[in-house]
Structures are given as structure tokens and as C-alpha cells.
């Protein structure tokens, strides 16, 4: 973007209802939904990846293939399945989750889990078997050996979490279906995320607003990347 374009974008910036907290509420909802979904997914995916990395059983290759296939799940299909699950006729209908952030977290959890598991598993598989053998030979239990492998694989696992976060925060289809892209009467987001807001603004011809929201989204992803990478670097000399 050239400097000359900045004055043209200024009115768009002014048009954004900052005072009503519109943008901040969208950023908050995006972060709340995606961070929660990725955190829960990480708690599930990493132990599963370590267990799979340590276990030898018939059909292990098939299980890996299923996980890898999950990385390509179309988000709108995931959204439809979660919508069915939380709808009145669905198995979770009594929880009244439809068009709530919790339903959005569920759909993003389904989307983020396969990439986090698959990339973590690749990282665990990539750890030298000798390290694992050494941990056991030095008197470590299976849990001790798993902790050593986790530490050795931490950069790959950080990458997995980033990939999962990237998939979750940049996804439109499923959160639109299960969240409904709703704001309250005061204009504050209830289930509107940065991606669904961008989609809405662009459809209404508010391209400048959509661009600015897009820039906010990119800045958000870059910031989370930087924090995770920095966190990973901190472990080098531990």
C-alpha cells in the first residue's frame, strides 16, 4: 500500500465505530473463540500424538491417514455437523448452544485438532529414537521418556499449535453457520469474528473497512506467531 492511499483510508478508519467498541469486541470474540478452541485442541492433540508416537499396533498407519485426512475437512461441512449437533433436534440440543460462542469453539476445535495432532505426531516421530532409549536406559519411566520426547519436539509442536490457530482464526464457513455473525443492539459483537465481519463488510461494499479488519487479523496472527516463536526460543538454553 502506498503512502498516498493513507488519506483515502482515513475516512474508513473514522467510520469504524471504535467508540462503541465494535472492532475491539470483534477482536475479543475472535481471540476468545480461537484461543479457547486451540487450547482445548492442544490438550487433546499433543497427548494423542505422543501416545501414537510411542505405540506400535496394527493399523497405526491407517490412524495416521485418518488424522492427515482430517486436515482437509471442509469448514462448512464441519459447521453443518456442529449445527446439527447443537440444534434442537441434535444430541446437544438441550444445552442451547446454537448461535453461541461455545458452538463456535466446538467447530473450531474440530477444525484445529487434525492439524495440531498430525504436525505434533510428525514432530514426535522425528525425535531420535536414541534419545527415547537413553531416557529409559537411565532409569526413566515411560512418562519420563515421553516428557523428554515432548521437550525435544517442542518446536514442531509449537508449529502445530500455530498451524491450528491459523486454521481456526482465519476460518469463515463454520463459525458463520454455527455462530450466526451476530451483534447486539449496541453494535457490540456477540458471535461476530474478524473473518465473518470482513465477509459482511465486503458484501456490503465497505471495502476499506474490510481491508482494515483484514489488516487487524493479519497483525493478530503475526503477533501470536511472534509470541509462540519467542516462547520456543526461550527453551533453547533451559
Amino acid at each position: 500500500m502506498s503512502l498516498a492511499a493513507i488519506p483515502q483510508l482515513a475516512p474508513a478508519l473514522l467510520d469504524l465505530p471504535f467508540r462503541e467498541g465494535y472492532v475491539w469486541s470483534i477482536v475479543y470474540v475472535s481471540l476468545y473463540v480461537s484461543v479457547t478452541a486451540v487450547a482445548v485442541s492442544t490438550l487433546v492433540s499433543v497427548p494423542v500424538a505422543v501416545a501414537l508416537g510411542f505405540a506400535e499396533f496394527p493399523g497405526k498407519g491407517f490412524v495416521k491417514s485418518v488424522i492427515n485426512t482430517g486436515m482437509g475437512f471442509p469448514s462448512v461441512v464441519v459447521g453443518l455437523v456442529v449445527l446439527f449437533a447443537v440444534s434442537n433436534q441434535g444430541p446437544l440440543g438441550s444445552l442451547e448452544l446454537i448461535f453461541t460462542r461455545e458452538a463456535m469453539i466446538m467447530s473450531q476445535f474440530v477444525l484445529a485438532t487434525p492439524p495440531i495432532t498430525a504436525i505434533s505426531l510428525a514432530a514426535v516421530d522425528g525425535v531420535d529414537d536414541g534419545v527415547r532409549d537413553a531416557a529409559r536406559a537411565l532409569g526413566g519411566t515411560r512418562i519420563d521418556a515421553a516428557l523428554v520426547v515432548l521437550k525435544e519436539a517442542r518446536y514442531g509442536i509449537a508449529t502445530a499449535v500455530l498451524a491450528g490457530f491459523g486454521r481456526a482464526v482465519s476460518e469463515v464457513g463454520s463459525v458463520l453457520i454455527v455462530g450466526g455473525n451476530i451483534t447486539g443492539p449496541d453494535g457490540v459483537s456477540k458471535t461476530r469474528t474478524l473473518t465473518t465481519a470482513i465477509q459482511l463488510e465486503a458484501r456490503q461494499g465497505q471495502y476499506e473497512t474490510a481491508m482494515i479488519l483484514g489488516a487487524v487479523l493479519v497483525a493478530l496472527v503475526l503477533t501470536v506467531n511472534a509470541v509462540v516463536v519467542r516462547f520456543g526460543d526461550g527453551g533453547v538454553n533451559a
Binding site: D128, G130, A135, R136, L138, V148, K151, E152
Partner: protein, 249 residues
């Protein structure tokens, strides 16, 4: 002390060895020599109580770990140390690597406490002193040469004072200086009363460090006895040919 009695191991249809018996006594060094692929590593894994033999038994002080519970087996396994051909150090400092064996023997509460107090335990310094690296506690494992890494690997197994120490080709990739340091450390371990078994294809090294030698050929031990007897007056014809270089694998 550490004994394998009539053990047999096979991988599928391939017999590695059968009816093999060997014992490692406290304060002695026994060298297991033989060509590559004959099963030296497999034998050490049995003695390390890391694998169960298909037939026969392994015992530490007459206790068969495979007839005991998992926790009792772990307690027995923790009395044995093993050093591999590859150093396989952890992504941490030299001190943290050498402390690992001590750390996993502590309670989880003590381990969490040790995260905040980063002093180097005396046992770690003493073990590193044996391999001439007492001043390198703060260096990261990645910065070590191959020889230094193997010396740290040796110190890592020595730090928790095992009753038996099993060394799998510990100097096969090392230069003469680092080899000499490791061989001196083997002598130090023996002097401390540790029973040491060294698997090696270097017969000169076996002559230098071992009190007894076991020759592993084909699918069993062809000869076992005092080092000078095995090398100078072997009773078995195949052993004699192997030692003289006439038997080529």
C-alpha cells in the same frame, strides 16, 4: 551379580543367539567381542533388563525382573546403566544431561523444586570429573564434539552409581584421545566396584580394558575366560581363527 542363563533370542525366523550364558560380577570388566550383527547389542539389552529373552532367564542378584511387577522391575533396571554407541544427549546443558538419571529417581515434588534451584549436584561434578569435563557443566550439549558428547554420555550413566554398567561400542566413532579417556573411565568404574560389560569389535580395546572376554560368534559364545587366556591360548578353533583374523565375516 548380573547374569544371563541359557538365553535365546530370535527375530521372526532369524535366530540371534541360543542358550547363551554370561555373568558380570561386581568390580570386573568383561568384554563381549564379535563381528558386527552377531547380537552384542541384543545381549546388552537383555542384561540392561530392557528386553525379555525368548527363552532362558536374566537376573540381577538372583532376582528375575521378568517374574516381578513393573515397579519392581523398574527398581532393578535403575541399578543398571547403559551407554550407547551414539551419545544421544538431550537438548540441554551438560549438567542437566548428567543429572537426568538422578532426577528421574526423585519424587515429582523434588523434581519441581529442582527447576528453581539450578545448583549442580556433587554426583554430577564427580561423574564429569571422571571423564575430564568437570568444567563444562554449563555448556549446551549441541556445542560438544562427538568425543565430548560420548564422554558426557558415559558420565550420565555413572552419575547415579549403578551396580552394573553396560557399554555398547562406546568408542567406535572416537579419536584415540577420547578413546583413552573412556577407557580410563571404565577402569575408574571398575575400581568403584561397578561390574562393567563392554561390547566391542575392537579386540585391542578388549585386551586393554577387560578382565574377562566372551567371544560371540554365529549364534552363541564360543569361548569365555580371562583376557590373556582367550587371546593367547584360545581353546576353541573358531575363536582362534576369529582372533587371528582368519575368520572373516
Amino acid at each position: 551379580m548380573l547374569r544371563a542363563a541359557d538365553v535365546s533370542v530370535a527375530y521372526g525366523d532369524e535366530t540371534i543367539f541360543r542358550d547363551l550364558s554370561v555373568e558380570v560380577d561386581a568390580g570386573e570388566v568383561i568384554a563381549v567381542i564379535g563381528p558386527s550383527g552377531v547380537g552384542k547389542t541384543t545381549l546388552l539389552r537383555l542384561l540392561a533388563l530392557a528386553a525379555e529373552p525368548d527363552e532362558g532367564s536374566v537376573a540381577l542378584d538372583d532376582v528375575d525382573p521378568w517374574a516381578r511387577s513393573a515397579s519392581e522391575r523398574l527398581a532393578l533396571r535403575r541399578r543398571v546403566g547403559m551407554v550407547f554407541q551414539e551419545a544421544s544427549l538431550f537438548d540441554a546443558s551438560v549438567a542437566r544431561n548428567v543429572e537426568y538419571g538422578l532426577r528421574v529417581r526423585r519424587s515429582w515434588t523434588d523434581r519441581l523444586g529442582s527447576l528453581f534451584g539450578r545448583g549442580v549436584p556433587d554426583a554430577v561434578r564427580e561423574a564429569l570429573d571422571v571423564v575430564g569435563l568437570a568444567d563444562e557443566t554449563r555448556r549446551h550439549a549441541d556445542s560438544l564434539s562427538g568425543g565430548e558428547a560420548q564422554r558426557v554420555s558415559f558420565a550420565r550413566a555413572l552419575a547415579y552409581e549403578p551396580d552394573a554398567l553396560l557399554l555398547d561400542e562406546p568408542t567406535s566413532d572416537l579419536d584415540p584421545r577420547n578413546t583413552a579417556v573412556i577407557e580410563e573411565a571404565i577402569g575408574e568404574a571398575r575400581d568403584r566396584g561397578i561390574g562393567v560389560a563392554v561390547a566391542t569389535h575392537d579386540m585391542h580395546q578388549a585386551e586393554r580394558v577387560a578382565d574377562r572376554v566372551a567371544v560371540l560368534l554365529d549364534d552363541g559364545i564360543t569361548e569365555m575366560g580371562p583376557t590373556e587366556v582367550v587371546f593367547e591360548d584360545p581353546a576353541n578353533e573358531r575363536t582362534r581363527k576369529f582372533i587371528s583374523g582368519e575368520l572373516v565375516y
